[in-house]
Symmetry: C2
Subunit: 481 residues, 2 copies
């Protein structure tokens, strides 16, 4: 347990034991710092954590007080109701320029889609890469042809087994990140012009895959807690001639939901019946906050219609872009497309990751990461509740490291994005998560970095920018979401 967690737990115990009573003031940050011989930052973290747990609250200019009772989030996110018409997709220009704008070192990168890299075991992976590089000299590109390095494929198979699935190692194809895996899988199942069903909001990587191949997106109503609405999907399949689905059932980016097992089972059963392939993006599957690894669609697949994609970029190292696909009955096509698209995936990083998986306790590493993300999710939710104006609501992620924030009606996330950027704070505007402007009053926040006073200050600033935009725009102008 960290110092700040210990402090928070101690204070929580005092409250539960009735030593500190509701409404009572607790020591100021400075006092607690001197008293416990802890840094100011540690105490702030402890207090923010306590606040996120509903134990204490802060009152402006007065300090921190024991709270009367836990409070529920004031506004619930509702299921989305997107435009049902297929749309050509053209979001990548906007996404690329947005991502570029947030790469400044000085910015607080709440808009980043990538995990904070400091939790990754760089040292070990680099050591393995170095050792393997030394003995690589006599190899040839011929050894690197798809499907990929047998050692890594074996370790991935073993990892699935540890998580409770049996997969066929011969089905696995190593790719340049999950991005390539998703692209190849989509190309294997549909043609230019075809209609593809996606969640709404959806991760823009899904939209990119559709854009790249000149297909069209059909956005399906999606519940922020349970995922894609199946009756709506079935209706759209009939009405819109859907050729394939793309979903992220575990800790969806941006909503963070985990689709319940029963809905996963039903989704696969319904699509199997209609013989419609489904591409499952499971890059966050290992980043669950609960007790057990979530199931994947793949686990319910009897006919090979699920094309499952994943990667190590979100869990182990973002430097090497190693992903993979389990493309079901489309395996041969996906393997050939991999060969056509990038020929091979470099062997050294594959072998380095395989060595790490074999020797270094991937599980131990992941437990640490999951715990950090789960705590940071609480802290971020508490901070948004506290510093954003009324009418704001947040998702409640059960895994991953991103949070969806719906701002009060009429607030324009793109205006917020630009205003925040001037203050060296980045957010991902909701415009990135739909083929047509739908989530214009939403933003996605990344909470993968350890909480700091600087991050808290950034959230405070964002809240003020939202409030000032509300003041400027006056009465509500349009409904959205």
């Amino acid at each position: 347990m960290n110092l700040y967690e210990k402090l928070a737990t101690d204070i929580e115990a005092l409250v539960q034991q009735g030593v500190l009573l509701p409404g009572e003031r607790i020591p100021s940050v400075r006092q607690a710092s001197q008293h416990h011989r802890l840094s100011i930052t540690t105490v702030i973290r402890a207090y923010v954590l306590l606040e996120s747990r509903g134990i204490i609250e802060s009152r402006p200019q007065s300090g921190y007080f024991v709270r009367a009772r836990r409070e529920e989030p004031p506004v619930e996110l509702r299921p989305s109701r997107p435009d049902p018409r297929p749309s050509a997709v053209d979001v990548s220009g906007m996404v690329l320029s947005t991502l570029r704008s947030i790469r400044s070192d000085e910015a607080i990168a709440l808009g980043s889609p990538y995990p904070d890299p400091t939790l990754f075991p760089w040292q070990r992976i680099n050591q393995y890469a170095n050792n393997i590089g030394r003995r690589y000299a006599t190899w040839s590109v011929l050894d690197d042809l798809p499907p990929g390095q047998p050692q890594l494929i074996r370790q991935i198979t073993r990892r699935y087994l540890e998580n409770g699935y049996t997969v066929d190692p011969n089905e696995i194809i190593i790719t340049i990140g999950a991005t390539e895996a998703i692209n190849l899988c989509l190309q294997a199942v549909a043609k230019p012009g075809d209609a593809i069903a996606v969640e709404s909001p959806t991760y823009y990587a899904m939209l990119h895959a559709i854009e790249r191949l000149g297909m069209r997106a059909v956005e399906v109503p999606t519940d922020p807690v349970e995922g894609m609405d199946l009756p709506s999907l079935m209706r759209l399949i009939d009405e819109r001639n859907i050729k394939a689905c793309m979903v992220m059932p575990n800790f969806q980016n941006p909503l963070g939901f985990q689709m319940p097992d029963e809905r996963k089972r039903q989704l696969v059963a319904l699509l199997t019946e209609r013989d419609i392939p489904v591409i499952e993006n499971d890059v966050y599957g290992e980043l669950y906050y609960g007790d057990a690894h979530p199931t994947s669609l793949k686990a319910y697949d009897t006919k090979g219609i699920v094309l499952h994609c994943a990667s190590f970029s979100k869990t182990l190292t973002n430097a090497w872009r190693i992903g993979w696909a389990l493309p079901g009955r489309y395996r041969e096509t996906v393997e050939r497309l991999k060969f056509l698209n990038t020929l091979t995936t470099p062997a050294i990083p594959q072998l380095a990751i395989a060595e790490f998986l074999k020797n270094d306790g991937y599980d131990f590493h992941l437990r640490r990461v999951r715990k950090a993300y789960a705590q940071q999710a609480d802290i971020m939710a508490a901070a948004v509740r506290r510093f954003f104006p009324p009418g704001t609501s947040t998702s409640r992620p059960t895994g991953g490291y991103v949070m969806w924030v719906q701002l009060p009606e009429g607030v324009d996330a793109m205006v917020l994005y630009h205003a925040a950027l001037e203050r060296k704070i980045t957010v991902a505007p909701g415009h990135m998560f739909s083929a047509v402007p739908t989530y214009t009053n939403c933003i996605r926040l990344n909470y993968s970095a350890a909480w700091t006073p600087e991050i808290e200050a950034a959230v405070v600033t964002l809240g003020k920018l939202v409030a000032s935009q509300q003041a400027r725009t006056g009465p509500v102008q349009e409904m959205s979401g």
Copy 2:
């Protein structure tokens, strides 16, 4: 100079000085080995080199003799006359299975498209990668977004300058090998179904790019010494509604020719006039045998219609798959497609290669490689002339490391390929180099590996297999090529 080169030069001097006379027998390999205290292999290499230079010849069961005079190759390759109709392309399955079949460690890989890796400076590149990996920990994927690492882009720009061109560093986009560069460039300039002009025979990577995007190939008559025939190209552009060209003007794979400067200039001028973009695959540009770096189409481009692609995989390291594109006026589109296709190119290898280029004498390394390939080209040509039946002709590569061999009419290269494979020798059958079966009596041989008695024995075996197939098939059945 190597030991065997020194020995060969000494003997050549004796012949030129008249110490050894035409028709005179020279010492046997064993005698020379004892006399000069050199290994048997070294002496064999020296003799094969002398043979390739036309200085000596071997007579079965008799030994080596000084030759009367240099002999020209008996049969010249003629310009190709391919089917002018556009064809859908479906060669990747065959190519992938062929490449797979030749990856056995035990096989003599004359069919490989890849350079022998022993000439690469693995040690240095790995050291740089390791050092960079150590300080990479605080980076984010955001730093890796296209176009690529500025340090590498700077070094590539500098390299072009050393070779006599000025390029705009802002035009360069780093990719996963030249494969991805070619794919992205083609997607930027044409649509599914479009007709694309290629050389005939053409490198199958070009056919793969066309296949991947569902376009059609139009093969253009190509001279084995000067490259694509321009009047034919112009006629096909008018008749077949060509949307783009793909060429490899320097040391084309498989023919090895270097298109003359004047033809390059004309090609670009004619295409500029008709506003047809041309994708230039220049991966062998640095592997010239002559005195100077050849020009590229890019050097003649005034309107941005040349999309120039290259990589380090053939010259520096095949482990990392670092290529690049200079896409002319299609730059923005290619950059966005890169982002969609694989998101980023890993940074560590880019930075390692940049360090090597900056510090380690790329030029020195390349001089060594070029010299080896030039000598091995001579040796391979001499060996094929000697051990293959009459009616065989070979290309005369002026760079790169592959040779095109046209077998006597009626010989089926696919039959030869299978028969050779059983004997653990691989060749690339001509079937791989055309969208429709055209070069069925041709093979491509890779001579990047240093000459050994085992390679010589493999060439002897191939010659015998060709002869025995001739004996079996009897009289000529069809014309081809």
